[in-house]
């Protein structure tokens, strides 16, 4: 039942992303709060609802953003997939796994956005996008990933208490 916390939490994340985080820019890039939350959530050992969270996050962000929803869907599900794969393999170093998920997820989502928007006719230069959006966003995401991982780990412990799990 505690899983319903996904709704207010992701809604709050999208609101914060739109109203606050998108104003905290490094060059032209900024952090992606929903992506980081999904990655951190999927990395938690007891979590069984990461795919649901990804679907919900995609729906909420697509509602606010002008970016094609398919980009978000593929990007967010890819983040969950990478996180769960890493969680099984490098479970002894969760922060390393979080950094890896953040790195791979951010790169994948941004390159996918770049490719799709370019195909749809928006004139982008890859060097501009790399230097002004992708790398600054990557740096900010990695900075934000530590507190968000800690928060999601505590949340996972609350949603899936140890005794219930065992």
């Amino acid at each position: 039942m505690r899983n319903v916390v996904a709704f207010p939490l992701l809604l709050l994340a999208v609101i914060l992303q739109s109203a606050v985080v998108s104003q905290v820019k490094l060059l032209s890039g900024y952090a992606d709060l929903p992506l980081l939350m999904l990655g951190a959530w999927a990395l938690q050992k007891r979590v069984r609802t990461a795919w649901h969270w990804a679907a919900l996050g995609c729906a909420l962000v697509a509602f606010v953003s002008s970016i094609p929803w398919l980009v978000l869907a593929v990007g967010y599900f890819a983040v969950v997939y990478v996180a769960q794969t890493l969680q099984r393999r490098v479970w002894q170093a969760p922060l390393l796994a979080m950094f890896s998920v953040t790195f791979i997820g951010t790169l994948f989502l941004h390159l996918l956005s770049f490719a799709v928007l370019s195909i749809l006719g928006t004139p982008f230069s890859l060097s501009d996008v790399l230097g002004l959006i992708i790398l600054p966003s990557l740096l900010l995401n990695i900075l934000f990933s530590i507190p968000i991982y800690a928060f999601m780990r505590d949340l996972a412990r609350w949603v899936y208490p140890a005794e219930e799990f065992e």
Partner: protein, 274 residues
């Protein structure tokens, strides 16, 4: 009265008399020494009492002072919050006053004021979200302005909100008119949020500072909305057109309140394009 009571009364009277005489100064130096000892004793007792009193009551004072300090600090916080709120209202009033002046000076259009409540979550796109939607007769394609100039146009609408594509968006292209050079050009957005001019004919002389207005060509925007000024011109002989960088009139980093022009209907010319 028995003899014992009489004796006690006499003793009291004698001692009382001696005290009265001593306090009256009738015993000279003996009296002064006695009173000095008395005063010393009184001082000692008094100072010890005050010390004990301080020791007992001081913690209580600190507690009450702390409580008072907390109370005052909370009042200061409340007043600071009120000051910030009032400053915000003053800012909003200033912006609204400027927008009202703008709408009065442009009576041919009807406007609907809206607050900017968010930005696109993706850094690839330059869109803002406003708090007016179809319930306020906002429709897709309506131009959005401030008193300084053109902001963009409504891209999509829901009941109580709308998404506005800024002129700085990389996918934005607007037909514009250079007032001094009397020529048409195209205004393009970019990833960085800078805007530039393209498609300026090679045989036209454009100077920095030239005013850029919407031309109305294409039917996407009404004509004569201010966009900004030319900053620098780039002319290369082997290129077909000149390019220019533009200083927008609107500060897109501080968009708070905008006006939607509600009596403009964009024209869809795509069926006419061969």
């Amino acid at each position: 009265m028995n003899s014992r009571s009489l004796q006690t009364t006499i003793i009291f009277l004698v001692i009382g008399g001696i005290f009265a005489l001593a306090l009256g100064g009738f015993f000279g130096s003996a009296s002064r020494q006695f009173s000095a000892v008395l005063i010393e004793l009184q001082t000692w007792v008094s100072s010890r009492f005050l010390g004990i009193q301080d020791f007992v009551t001081a913690p209580r004072d600190i507690v009450s002072l702390r409580a008072r300090n907390d109370e005052l600090e909370s009042q200061v916080s409340l007043l600071q919050a009120q000051v910030i709120e009032l400053q915000q209202r003053v800012n909003e009033t200033d912006i609204l006053a400027a927008l009202v002046d703008f709408s009065r000076s442009n009576p041919e259009s009807t406007y609907k004021a809206a607050s900017v409540i968010g930005r696109d979550p993706s850094p690839f796109l330059h869109y803002v979200i406003i708090n007016r939607g179809s319930n306020d007769a906002i429709q897709r394609g309506m131009p959005v302005v401030t008193n300084q100039g053109l902001v963009g146009r409504v891209d999509s609408v829901i009941a109580d909100a709308a998404r506005v594509q800024l002129i700085t968006d990389p996918a934005s292209s607007i037909n514009v008119y250079l007032q001094n050079a009397e020529t048409d050009a195209m205004l393009l957005g970019s990833v960085t949020g800078d805007v530039s001019l393209d498609m300026i004919s090679q045989d036209v002389s454009v100077e920095p500072g030239d005013l850029i207005l919407t031309s109305g060509l294409g039917g996407g925007y009404p004509s004569d909305l201010i966009i900004g000024q030319v900053v620098t011109l780039r002319t290369l002989e082997f290129e077909l057109f000149q390019q220019a960088t533009v200083q927008p009139a609107v500060d897109f980093t501080r968009l708070e309140i905008v006006l939607v022009i509600t009596n403009f209907r964009p024209v869809d010319i795509s069926p006419l394009v061969p």
